[in-house]
């Protein structure tokens, strides 16, 4: 079972943002999309979730997503946007419980509590969402998204998390919490597709990396083959040195100069 996007084209006005991008992600893996600002990585994610009008096809678990009814999509994939404005004074618990709106796991009312626990906010249920910090709000949204597709495999089919910069406003401890959640979800058979900025966290959690620049995929594949000096220099336009932590062979990326 895979997610497969073919020939995705997105145009804003006359400007082509994505020009025939292909993207594949197998279930059971964490697939990360990286690239400089404006490279089209968020647009690609939004095209795959139907949040921007696009041409091309997106096949999820063998079905064309544009032909699936909303409830069915919601039962197979959850989407975490980069930012979200919440109207009215909802509590954290009320927001997370909205993850049960799709009705699939509605019978299990323990899920919101477990999801809040998983993102380290088990005592936050009664608090007002709008009074939390940006990072805490992001974790609440992650808990809501997890609630929606809690079991990585349902009726034999994998479920999917689409995450747009899930760790961008988190401190390093909670970045790791979320990275572990993503890994755990994939290892138990679910699919995780994330847009990320941090190359080191990407190297740590990704099974597959897709590097984008100027609306095109310039490299895609396993971490070793994609996170190389050449690819990154081409994508980001600056010299970067990829090394490996000697003890466990995890890659890390260091900028080479503060000067142009």
């Amino acid at each position: 079972m895979t997610l497969s996007a073919k020939d995705i084209q997105v145009t804003y006005g006359r400007r082509k943002i994505l020009n025939g991008v292909n993207f594949d992600a197998p279930a059971g893996t964490v697939s990360v999309i990286v690239g400089p600002n404006g490279s089209g990585k968020t647009t690609l994610l939004k095209a795959m979730t139907g949040d921007v009008p696009s041409k091309g096809t997106v096949i999820l678990n063998g079905q064309d997503t544009t032909k699936m009814p909303g409830w069915q999509l919601a039962s197979q994939r959850a989407v975490l946007p980069q930012s979200l404005s919440v109207a009215f004074t909802f509590t954290v618990a009320e927001i997370v419980r909205m993850g049960l709106l799709s009705g699939v796991d509605a019978a299990d009312s323990t899920l919101p509590g477990r999801a809040l626990d998983a993102v380290g906010l088990s005592t936050y249920g009664p608090r007002f969402y709008h009074e939390l910090s940006g990072g805490e709000q992001q974790r609440v949204q992650m808990a809501r998204v997890l609630t929606q597709v809690w079991h990585p495999v349902q009726d034999g089919a994998p479920r999917w998390l689409f995450l747009d910069e899930p760790v961008s406003s988190l401190d390093i401890g909670h970045q790791l919490t979320l990275i572990r959640l993503m890994r755990d979800y994939a290892e138990r058979g679910g699919g995780v597709i994330a847009v990320m900025h941090d190359l080191n966290l990407t190297a740590m959690c990704a099974d597959r990396v897709t590097v984008m620049a100027d609306g095109q995929v310039i490299a895609s594949g396993a971490v070793d083959s994609v996170l190389t000096n050449e690819v990154l220099a081409r994508a980001y336009g600056c010299p970067l040195q990829v090394n490996a932590i000697p003890t466990n062979a995890t890659h890390f990326v260091l900028p080479q100069s503060a000067h142009a």
């Binding site: 979200l84 009320e94 509590g113 959640l181």
Partner: protein, 357 residues
Amino acid sequence: MTSASDFNVATDMPDRQALAWRVHLGLWAFLAVSGALSLGTGATSTSLATLLLGITGIQPLSMMDQVVLFEIRLPRLALGALVGAALAVSGAVMQGLFRNPLADPGLVGVGAGAGLGAITAIVLGGLLPASLQAMTGSYLVAFAAFLGGWGATIVLYQVSTRNGRTSVGTMLLAGIALGALAGAASGVLVYIADDQQLRDLTFWGLGSLAGATWTKVMAAAPIIILALLASPFLARGLNGLALGEAAAHHMGVDVQPLKRMAVLSVAAATGAAVAVAGGIGFIGIVVPHLLRLATGPDHRLLLPNAALLGASLLILADVISRLVIAPAELPIGIVTAILGAPVFLWILLKRRGMMDL
């Protein structure tokens, strides 16, 4: 995530739902008290005690008391309850749809649109073929008001909402423009109206339950009750919509049908209310706001509670309108404005920092 079961998981998260249920029961009692007050108040000396004795059969009602009860006060009570519930629920649904607590059919031109529809029906209804007039009867004004409110809501939504986000500033300004346009068109109609129509319009425009008859009740009741019955089906979707259209869609809410149904029910309920009771403001903004403060924004209980509180408050406002300058009556629109406008200003004051004007 696998470690979740190792922790002492808080499955029973404290919430405001239990409180909202208690408030719900309290509101039924409040409605009963308001209703009793309304039945016992009026220009004649027929008191609640007299009516109670009559109903229980202890001391039969006089002919006059019977007329007062069944032909004047009961239809007035029924109309007040219907209109109050319609205005409050319309306000709550519209605020959920626009994701903003300041959206109120009366403020953003929907009421004005409904008013234009009603005035058009009153002034130009006579131009319709006699057979059609006979067929539509008292429903014509209500239906025209519904069409006017519906049109205004659609224009408002198209103008002020982009990519699923509503700009408060655009919404309020578009509301002003719509209101002005509907007002101007209404002015033209008033200009060409004859004397009898002018009398009808004046009475109607001030906003009043004074002319309540069973005919009016029966004209408004089916539309309003239908809209009220639809509202529970909107509640879950409106909750999801609080996170934006995209998020609601991803959570499995059918956003487009939800929006269509919300707009239709707002237009129907507002239109029917405006048609039979004229322009009564602020119920739609004050009632949902008070309830959100007390029990939170979850629409599943907000909507039924708004219906109950809206009905009770409008009935009470009507009692006040009959008492302050008795034996004459103050138009109820004036009472709700005097009580409601300060609350609206208070909301504005509290939200000043959050407005993206």
